[in-house]
């Protein structure tokens, strides 16, 4: 392990980018926005923020970051997706819009807006496996849930009988938005994943 802060990007095509940058910085990472392939090449890990998954997917394809992103995720770059980002990391969307593509990385099927429209958006305490210090404040906004997972996927949290946080190898995803709460434990967990993954090259 190195003492140097890991460089973690936030995909900045659309969504709550600033909140993730703040949370990552608080978790000890050197955080920066990523919109272009060359910016993607310069980070050790990447956050896919909340936003509109259809919009982010379209912009990622249009501006040529979708393919490099898939390649890096396949090669094991640590990624963390919240809400729309969770949808982007799914191998399959149950109800995709025409032309909606995902990055993949987690063997799961997701349902978009599964918890309902904005009036059904809610906050609730969620126990996340592997996090010390009690449950996190789960902020669910028009949130998706994970319909089913493959054998290699670890379920980290459930809410109301639905899977809302998962991890497969270096890919982490939550239906909820820790970046909106000021509680940076999930981001710290991700920063640790990034530190661990880059340790072999650094030594």
């Amino acid at each position: 392990m190195t003492d140097e802060a890991p460089v973690i990007g936030v995909l900045a095509l659309q969504g709550d980018v600033r909140e993730h940058l703040t949370a990552l910085a608080a978790a000890g990472a050197a955080a920066r926005p990523v919109r272009r392939p060359e910016e993607l090449a310069a980070v050790d890990g990447l956050v896919l923020p909340g936003g509109e998954s259809t919009t982010i997917s379209k912009l990622a394809v249009l501006f040529g970051v979708m393919e490099p992103l898939r390649a890096r995720v396949r090669a094991g770059m640590p990624v963390y997706g919240t809400c729309a980002g969770l949808i982007m990391l799914a191998e399959k969307i149950l109800d995709p819009r025409a032309g909606q593509e995902t990055v993949g990385g987690i063997d799961m099927i997701v349902r978009r807006n599964a918890f309902g429209r904005q009036n059904e958006s809610f906050e609730a305490a969620v126990e996340v496996k592997g996090l010390d210090g009690g449950p996190v404040e789960g902020v669910f906004i028009r949130a998706p849930w994970v319909e089913s997972v493959g054998a290699g996927v670890e379920v980290l949290a459930e809410y109301d009988g639905h899977v809302v946080a998962v991890r497969q190898g270096n890919a982490l995803a939550t239906s909820f938005h820790p970046e909106l709460t000021g509680d940076h434990r999930v981001h710290a967990l991700f920063a640790d994943m990034v530190r661990t993954s880059r340790a072999p090259e650094s030594l």
Partner: protein
């Protein structure tokens, strides 16, 4: 699994300030488009809009037709909600809390208490804390923005003259809000009380803005955006996203223009991208010069 939550242990809390403001945070960097039919809504979604504003007439037509402009038919709003999966917003008249109740009952994702419609109350805006559905409101300066936030608005937008295709008023409002915030940043804590009085806004909010250096909610531009360069201009002036009203569906090639404005909004600081997407868009909406608009037809004067 040992950490699985028992279903009975949790009571979800809906309509919290965090959930309402957080919804707007998810729209940042995006374009919200006015649409009047499900077909237009689909064009907007395909172009990469982050949300649509469902209404019966775009502001340019409201201006042309005159008369009293009201909330749209719930049937029409629902047909748009059924057509797309992105969030759907709808407008209620200023102070018309029953129109807002109706929009909440239909289940729209955001309510715009809008000066584009004819105001229903010349003194009061809606008490937006009383709703589960979040509200966006217009503002021409910081004081107005903070009064709306005090009433519960979870998102603020400029009040650029809608339906004119002229960005000049939105520029004025954003610059004003930005300058007002910069001025607060320069005051010491003794001076903030007098500043709150001048701004006609609650002291607590004034103090919060002075500390944050920005509004405590998301700030979008609205009114007069007709081109990709207009959208990029508003972003460079500090808007976190852009509403486009008549500018898209009153133009020659709506699908192309919509996609171009989306791209320019994301890459607002890259003139090469803005140049690329500005090519061959067909005719922009015609537009109206705001200095020829009589005072009575200026929407920005509506709201108190």
């Amino acid at each position: 699994m040992s950490t699985t939550i028992s279903d009975s242990a949790q009571t979800p809390e809906t309509g919290t300030a965090r959930v309402k403001r957080g919804m707007a945070e998810q729209l940042k960097g995006g374009v919200i488009m006015d649409v009047v039919t499900p077909e237009q809504a689909k064009i907007a979604e395909d172009a990469g809009a982050v949300a649509v504003m469902a209404l019966e007439r775009v502001p340019a037509d409201i201006r042309k037709d005159g008369g009293v402009a009201r909330m749209s038919d719930p049937d029409m709003i629902e047909s748009i909600m059924d057509a797309v999966s992105i969030p759907v917003m709808a407008k209620a008249r200023i102070g018309h809390f029953v129109e807002a109740q109706v929009l909440q009952a239909i289940g729209v994702d955001y309510i715009d208490e809008s000066e584009v419609l004819t105001p229903a109350d010349e003194v009061n805006h809606c008490d937006k804390w009383a709703f589960t559905t979040p509200f966006v409101c217009g503002a021409t300066n910081l004081g107005e923005a903070l009064r709306r936030i005090a009433e519960g608005a979870a998102m603020i937008r400029s009040k650029g003259e809608a339906g004119t295709g002229n960005v000049v008023e939105a520029v004025r409002h954003l610059r004003q809000i930005k300058n007002d915030i910069a001025r607060l940043r320069g005051l010491d804590h003794h001076e903030l009380y007098a500043a709150a009085k001048e701004l006609r806004a609650p002291y607590e909010l004034v103090k919060e803005v002075a500390e944050l250096g920005r509004l405590p909610v998301v700030l979008f531009s609205a009114g007069g955006v007709a081109t990709p360069a207009d959208a990029a201009l508003m972003r460079q002036l500090g808007a976190e996203g852009v509403f486009v009203g008549s500018g898209i569906f009153k133009s020659g090639d709506p699908a192309k223009r919509a996609a171009a404005i989306v791209k320019a909004t994301t890459f607002y600081d890259d003139p090469k991208v803005v140049a690329e997407v500005s090519r061959n868009l067909g005719e922009a909406m015609v537009g109206i010069n705001c200095d020829t608009l009589p005072e009575t037809e200026r929407y920005a004067n509506r709201g108190w």
